[in-house]
Amino acid sequence: MDFIDEKDRTRVLLEEKKSSRRSALLLGGAALAGMALSRTKAFAQASTTVTDNDILNFALNLEFLEGQFYTLATTGNALDQIGISTKGGDGTAGGTVTVKTNPMVPFQDPLLKQLAMEIAMDEQNHVKFLQSALSTSAVAQPNIDLMNSFNTLAQAAGLGASFDPFASETNFLLGAFIFEDVGVTAYQGAAGLISSKTYLDKAVGIHNVEAYHAAAIRTRIFQAGPGAQAISQAIAATRAKLDGTGTDDVGVGITNGAATIVDNDANGMTYARTTRQVLSIVYGGGAAGTGGVFYPNAMNGTIR
């Protein structure tokens, strides 16, 4: 990967600081060079008790990622540019977003464009809802990378040197695919950790919405044909490898005459992932607390 060229194409949004941008790129390179895809990179075990706020902030980090991806794909603008704050509840400035110039996807299919806009709105609502629920405890958006991250994951999945999820409708679907099922598994894994019944109810409700999204995206990948299906399978396998199980992810395809729209097990249940497994996926195998790929400087909050 040539970072000079990448840098020229890079537009860093939000409250960018040159130093953090450089460090983000360097970390991206380090993660790429290391490509810690084996399970050998163990995560430190959390030693403190996890509070509901910790879990909700973990979710907020994920929603920032999804919110930025879909908002940029549908409008070309980042969250703060459409009026959604990325600041922390205490006023801490939000991090940067690294993304190519003109990320708006050239949608051809009106229904797909509508779907993308709907998902963007949902993710924006999730960000706003969690910020409201967390109030002054809400974390700021961490630095997010939506360019080098996809290139790194493409290489990890054996899909080539680079991958631009904003280049076409099919690429957008595959980019979205990377997030959605992970969101489902993250909320499912976190649900049992939440002590407040009210927050549990909300978390389950967001969990469901992520599953609706995942299904809509996966149905369209199914319809896009064997090529797109094969890529989704490679991505699913990579996610399963990154989380250490090797088995808890099913790509889109056909098995014994049945479609595999739903990412679930033999009991007809979606998978649950621990926060550590989710971090391993969105960090591309990067170490806890250090981050990588989508979160070049790790998430914000206590679960990071």
Partner: protein, 299 residues
Amino acid sequence: MDKLRDRLRSGVSRRSFLAGMGTSVGATVAVLATGCGNDSNSNPTPTPVAPPALTDADYLNFALNLEYLEAEFYLRAATGSGLSDTDAGSGAGTVTGGSQVAFKTPAIQQYAMEIANDELAHVRFLRKALGSAAVSRPAINLSGSFNAAASAAGIGSSFNPFADENSFLVGAFTFEDVGVTAYHGAAGLLTDKNNLAAAAGILATEAYHAGEIRTLITQLGDPYVTYANQISTLRATAGGGAETMLSGNTIVASDSNSISYDRTPSQVLHIVYLNAMAGTIFSGGFFPSGMNGTIIAAS
């Protein structure tokens, strides 16, 4: 059911949907109440039962009844055969209607097969989890129920979801979002973390199904989108609102915070008994003899 009612949220806020529906709601309620009277209103005066505190097993059995319904619908549509005697449990009720759909599009057949497999897996999982406490399959109606629903929804005097693949998708639509709201409502009532994890896993699968079916119907366009929305309106009337009208930019059924709806068991029962009438309802619609278990009364 007082205790249950106390423990459940009223869902009043979601009734704002109903408020927006205007006069058509009242008309639909009336049709529902009369159209399905045969099954529900003739039920003899129920023996009063002092309701004990509901357990996780009660909620899981409630879910099992819904899974029996979905499994019978999808298995029959996809394969022509329903649950085996083993999977239905001893003394299982009869299933009326349902036949293999003459699929013309391989993809739709593959979608149907996947969902059938999932619902069968849910039946088996819940039966295993409940062990000897598992209720058997209640009587299920997949014929007159759809006719009554179609009539009440204003779709027509009859509707056969097994007639063709597009009708099948509309039939599937009838169930899927309901399953999501039912599990969402029940999740917070479970006390055992393992049961919560299982419910969350099943519920997300139902949400995948719902998202898939809603996507496919929007791709079909009208009249199927209109049919779906007529059913959605019917469900809202019987089940306390909690619906998002289907369109190209409303694939997800959720509230203004983009959080999915939940329903109380009573609201779910009103929908599957196809009866929006006030008062206690013990059977009707898809469950002509009512559900099995302890959570059986729409109130």
